[in-house]
Symmetry: C2
Subunit: 249 residues, 2 copies
DNA sequence: CCTGGCTCTCTTGCATACAAGACAGGAAGC
DNA sequence: GCTTCCTGTCTTGTATGCAAGAGAGCCAGG
């Protein structure tokens, strides 16, 4: 999103920038988020960067390795399973609790599915990743319950990190079809069916993961040697290359 | 729970102390949480207190009024409705996703219900409040999914704050019966029924609230005059009176 | 060539200092 | 008496400084 100079509203912009970056698959799991780097990027002191990191940590988006740095989480296979389970629970519970789909909501979802189709046609993979996750958030928004929206946003962010680690190929068409089916069920007012389809859809995506493929083939070894998690900063390509070879200080 | 001197593990003890205090109804909504007070209590600097506050803010437990202080949230009527809806979604979704009740789990819930009975017999209202909320957290723990446990813990904390604001009388027996019914359904393996009962139970509790009774009859006026939210510190009675009239510095 | 240890640098952890806003209380003017 | 303004105090907001830990790299010894 916006860059530095975002002073004044920098309050939470660090947080949203990073989450947005993850939701659109621009930031990879394991990316190192140096306090000094971010402080320079946003033109603030480390204090505020740390605040943002703490918030993101409680949201399960980043974690800190003492005296070594902040890193975007690299969910383990167990984490991945837990995240998908949590999503099934929340999303199915949400759909079952719905009573009707307003015309407004119908339009919003319809427009979203069109966006998915456009992105597929254009082959815009990053945008596609974002849209595939966003669909579920949009459904939550229909409920008007910001608590659930926030929960699902964070879970979706983790889902995307998981897919970057364990998903070899991206079955966009399959996901899109799943979304369409859910939408159809919702349109007919059959929310129980929509919930079931949602669970199936999430199962499908989860099954498409190769959870045996460890994110880093050497992670076992690294851990036993207490070496740093793969920084992956070399593969971090922000759309706006604001992080040059900033040899900080 | 433990007090100052908790150095070393002070890492997150501020957070858990406050959340525990809320879960056991020892800290009222609107309680002012001064950075200096907490810093003195825990024997750390404001920095770490602020970190804890930020985390709690992310979790929806406290909020900050700029340059005026941190306060335990006072959920509005709308917030209350949203919290109960979120709980219904998550808890019903969770129960529906369960396949079996292990013997271990059965014992845990059974023991818990006994504790409820004991607290009712003893008339220990604080403990009862804690147990009534904890029952739902225990169910989440059965799933072994820490994500869901954390979500429900925070929602339960907010629920207790809501009950302190809007619940005139405490229908402990009614809640206990609701829990027993849910447990019975789970024992028979009928998790769909358990989910339905759970929704009914939450509806019952929600209906027992008087959401027309504003937490502070003058809150509208206060807001328009941008006066401080009611501190309620005068009604704050920690079981361990560690916060005397600490005229900080 | 390999191994062990040393140092040097870079990172976060934490405390502190100072800035700035929000009230409270009192004094001055009407 | 009432209102208005002003000043003092207390709060959080933010930056900065210093300490301590973790590695990376180098050098010596085998």
């Amino acid at each position: 999103m916006q860059e530095s100079q975002a002073s004044e509203t920098t309050q939470k912009s660090i947080e949203v920038t990073i989450v947005s970056g993850i939701l659109s698959a621009k930031i990879r799991p394991g990316t190192r988020l140096g306090e000094n780097q971010l402080a320079a990027l946003f033109g603030v002191s480390r204090t505020r960067v740390r605040e943002a990191m703490m918030r993101l940590e409680t949201r399960g988006i980043v974690h800190v390795s003492p005296r070594r740095g902040w890193f975007v989480v690299e969910p383990s296979a167990e984490d991945a399973i837990a995240v998908y389970e949590a999503r099934r629970v929340v999303e199915a519970g949400l759909l079952r609790s719905m009573a009707l789909l307003t015309e407004e909501g119908r339009k919003a979802l319809d427009a979203h599915l069109n966006e998915e189709r456009n992105a597929m046609a254009a082959g815009d993979r990053q945008r596609l990743t974002y849209l595939m996750g966003d669909f579920h958030i949009r459904i939550a928004e229909l409920s008007g319950n910001t608590i659930i929206v926030d929960i699902l946003r964070d879970l979706t962010a983790r889902t995307i990190l998981i897919s970057m680690l364990y998903q070899s190929e991206f079955h966009a068409a399959q996901s899109h079809e799943g979304h369409c089916r859910i939408f159809e069920a919702m349109q007919t007012g059959d929310f129980v069916r929509a919930a079931e389809l949602s669970v199936e859809h999430l199962d499908e995506v989860e099954m498409g993961l190769d959870l045996t493929a460890r994110p880093d083939p050497l992670s076992d070894l690294r851990k036993s040697l207490s070496l740093p998690p793969r920084t992956a900063s070399s593969t971090f390509q922000p759309s706006d290359p604001k992080i040059p070879t900033t040899k900080e200080q």
